[in-house]
């Protein structure tokens, strides 16, 4: 796929400062009786320029909430605490108008369902034009040309004609491409992609992953990818953050975390998915089901399902400790100490 040179954001690539830096994020909701519970807690991570970081977790793990909080897109009833530092500003303490300046501009987001992300009664091109006009004043003729460039950047053939199409005339994969075109229209420093391939067929998923890889390589846009699919993380990401019950349970470079998982949850998750290159042995299932965020267990949140739990696990929640260079896990036991028992 050809990436148009005019979309390179060269200066972002060599910064040593993180693009976004999340510290002690906590998202609380209220029960009917007024007491509070957290769906996300103690979450801290950085996304460096040009990096692709994956957040992997199951439904209810808080991965989407975490991603949305960066743009303050969490539900109004949710109370955010902690900080999200973006280019020296704390997004949580900015006035709403300033957050709107960042949203869709410096930080863009694409969602799982490309069907509901477009307005069905406006042409695709007009909607992308609007995304550009919101943040910059561009002449009408330039605007049209820009939309055509963007559509061909994301691999949509015959872009002049396609810009005049309505969303329903696009297939799911094309809609996700168009949405990506809209998201990168203002050359964002960070693209947040929430399950961008989940609704798509595998052949289309592969194309969208290739598109993400191209955008990242050619324009240096950092990507925060939210997914439940570990294989997608293995394919795309430099770093991975594994979330469970609203917490980061393991974090590190993809190769290291997947090849030598130290948290029993990560380890079990990898053993529980059938692999294309694997044989048909029995899958190692994780017993039980993810906890209800309103009634989390004592101590480690994975402990009731963990085959390696010891007494301390149910008494005291482990910290997210540095267990190797650049590799953290929230576990008292760690797989390297029990791997012999695991087989």
């Amino acid at each position: 796929m050809n990436v148009h040179p005019s979309f390179e954001v060269g200066q972002a690539v060599h910064h040593a400062e993180p693009v976004v830096s999340v510290r002690e994020l906590r998202i609380e909701f209220q029960r009917p009786d007024g007491s509070r519970y957290a769906v996300v807690d103690k979450v801290s991570f950085d996304v460096m320029p040009g990096q692709i970081v994956g957040i992997v977790g199951e439904s209810g793990s808080g991965k989407s909430m975490t991603a949305r909080s960066i743009l303050r897109l969490t539900p109004k009833t949710g109370k955010l605490s902690g900080s999200v530092d973006f280019q020296g500003k704390d997004i949580f303490s900015l006035p709403p108008a300033r957050v709107r300046d960042i949203r869709g501009n410096k930080i863009a987001m694409i969602f799982q369902d490309p069907m509901t992300s477009f307005n069905p009664v406006f042409r695709i091109g007009a909607q992308i034009e609007e995304a550009i006009r919101l943040h910059a004043s561009v002449a009408k003729s330039k605007l049209t040309q820009r939309v055509v460039e963007l559509l061909s950047l994301v691999g949509i053939g015959n872009p002049q004609e396609r810009a005049r199409a309505y969303p329903h005339e696009f297939s799911g994969g094309m809609r996700q491409r168009a949405l990506t075109a809209m998201a990168v229209a203002n050359k964002p420093a960070l693209l947040i992609a929430d399950e961008p391939t989940t609704a798509l067929d595998v052949t289309v998923q592969d194309q969208i992953m290739e598109l993400m890889r191209d955008l990242n390589a050619h324009s240096g846009t950092a990507i925060l990818l939210i997914t439940h699919n570990i294989a997608v993380v293995a394919s795309l990401c430099d770093r991975v953050i594994v979330m469970y019950a609203g917490r980061v349970v393991e974090e590190g470079p993809v190769e290291q975390v997947l090849a030598s998982s130290q948290h029993p949850y990560t380890w079990s998750l990898l053993k529980s998915v059938p692999r294309m290159d694997g044989d048909a042995g029995r899958l190692v299932a994780i017993k039980g089901h993810p906890p209800d965020p309103t009634a989390l267990p004592q101590g480690c949140k994975f402990q009731p399902r963990c085959p390696f739990a010891v007494r301390r696990c149910s008494e005291e929640e482990p910290p997210l400790g540095e267990i190797a260079t650049d590799h953290r896990a929230r576990c008292w036991v760690l797989m390297r100490n029990v791997e012999g028992l695991a087989a």
């Binding site: 199951e58 439904s59 053939g157 799911g172 067929d201 595998v202 052949t203 998923q205 592969d206 992953m209 439940h228 699919n229 570990i230 294989a231 997608v232 993380v233 293995a234 394919s235 993809v254 190769e255 997947l258 090849a259 079990s268 998750l269 990898l270 529980s272 998915v273 059938p274 692999r275 294309m276 290159d277 694997g278 048909a280 029995r282 899958l283 190692v284 299932a285 994780i286 017993k287 089901h289 993810p290 399902r305």
Partner: protein, 359 residues
């Protein structure tokens, strides 16, 4: 307690599907109907105790096929027999017996259970409908079915909302199992579940299969899951089966270019293996000028298509050796692919004029 089909009937296919079609009319007017051929000329057999995996992308017709086979939808034409009884023509007792013998497990455990019925009522209903058991006897059977599916007996008193997704799917499986079916069509039984729960349900279905001698038609879009559970796999594309073969052979040596494309598209949860896979994926540009018509339906996306033949003549689903069938003018035989791998030499010796260099 097991009612194994294999014990009571001479060997032969349990499920026999021939030239099955399901067309849907839409739009147009009285004189000019528009038709979607959701299932078009599909034939296959499933042996007793076998699991046939059915894969395809959204819109390929795999769910429609499953519904027609189990009798939830009427075929436009063609034949389906299950255990020797025709799904289309059987009436009365024979018909009821068929309804019992062939059960279905649905994708969405949230919408396939009645929220106003307790689990006991949900499971007692089929027992009553088929005149199998009532009252206390039914309770015993319900308890057994729930336990077989890994649910405690007290689940009987609860409503679906009190269960997690994985537990609801267990209830859905128990409901299918309780009438002692021979054959279960499972339509995406794990795709709505969390990753950590999928393995539980897959393991459960495999345990039940060996315990009760069940035969499955396992429909899913996740090729890794299908590989894991299936003995044989059928690949559907736009309403047709384009390849059907033993699971091991199909994944090791896919014959049809569409199967090859599908298999190459799946990422692997291991960065090194994944890098290898990506290197091996050839870039294919779809030919937008070709419209699917009378030729091969896959021709517009096919990296190996040759013209005019692929655009004009539809390939039949033919035996390519080793029990593998593929619908492609240019696919090698199973032997040739295997030989190809070993010797790195050319394609089919039988029909050199139709051999295309894939590399």
């Amino acid at each position: 307690m097991s009612v194994s089909f294999a014990e009571t009937t001479p060997p032969g296919p349990l499920v026999h599907v021939r030239e099955l079609r399901r067309h849907f009319d839409y739009g147009g007017n009285f004189f000019r109907r528009k038709t979607v051929k959701a299932v078009e000329d599909v034939s296959f057999d499933i042996a007793p105790g076998e699991t046939l995996g059915l894969v395809g992308e959204s819109g390929s017709g795999k769910s429609t096929l499953g519904r027609v086979v189990v009798g939830l939808d009427k075929a436009t034409s063609g034949r389906v027999t299950i255990g020797g009884n025709s799904v289309e023509t059987s009436r009365g007792r024979e018909r009821r017996d068929l309804w019992r013998k062939a059960q279905m497990v649905f994708q969405d455990p949230y919408s396939s259970l009645n929220p106003k019925m307790t689990i006991r009522d949900t499971l007692a209903e089929p027992l009553r409908n088929f005149g199998i058991a009532k009252g206390r006897n039914a309770d015993v059977m319900i308890r057994t079915a729930l336990e077989a599916c890994g649910l405690p007996a007290r689940a009987m008193e609860l409503y679906p909302r009190e269960f997690s997704g994985g537990q609801r799917q267990r209830v859905g499986i128990a409901r299918a199992l309780i009438v002692r079916p021979d054959f279960i069509v499972a339509d995406e039984p794990v795709s709505a579940l969390d990753v950590s729960i999928q393995a539980q349900i897959i393991n459960l279905m495999q345990d039940l299969r060996s315990e009760y001698g069940l035969t499955y038609l396992f429909i899913a879009h996740d090729l890794a899951v299908v590989k894991h559970v299936s003995d044989r796999v059928a690949v559907m594309y736009l309403g047709k089966i384009v390849e059907i073969a033993a699971a091991k052979a199909l994944y090791a040596r896919p014959l049809h270019p569409y199967t090859q494309l599908l298999l190459r598209s799946i990422p692997i949860p291991d960065p090194l293996a994944e890098r290898e896979r990506r290197r091996a994926v050839p870039k294919i540009e779809a030919r937008r000028d070709l419209k699917p018509g009378q030729g091969c339906p896959f021709a517009p996306r096919c990296p190996r298509a040759q013209f005019p033949i692929c655009a004009e003549e539809e390939p039949a689903l033919l035996d390519k050796g080793d029990g593998a069938l593929a619908a492609c003018h240019f696919s090698e035989t199973a032997h040739a692919v295997a030989g190809d791998r070993r010797a790195g030499a050319g394609g089919s010796a039988d029909n050199p004029s139709l051999t295309v260099d894939a590399r």
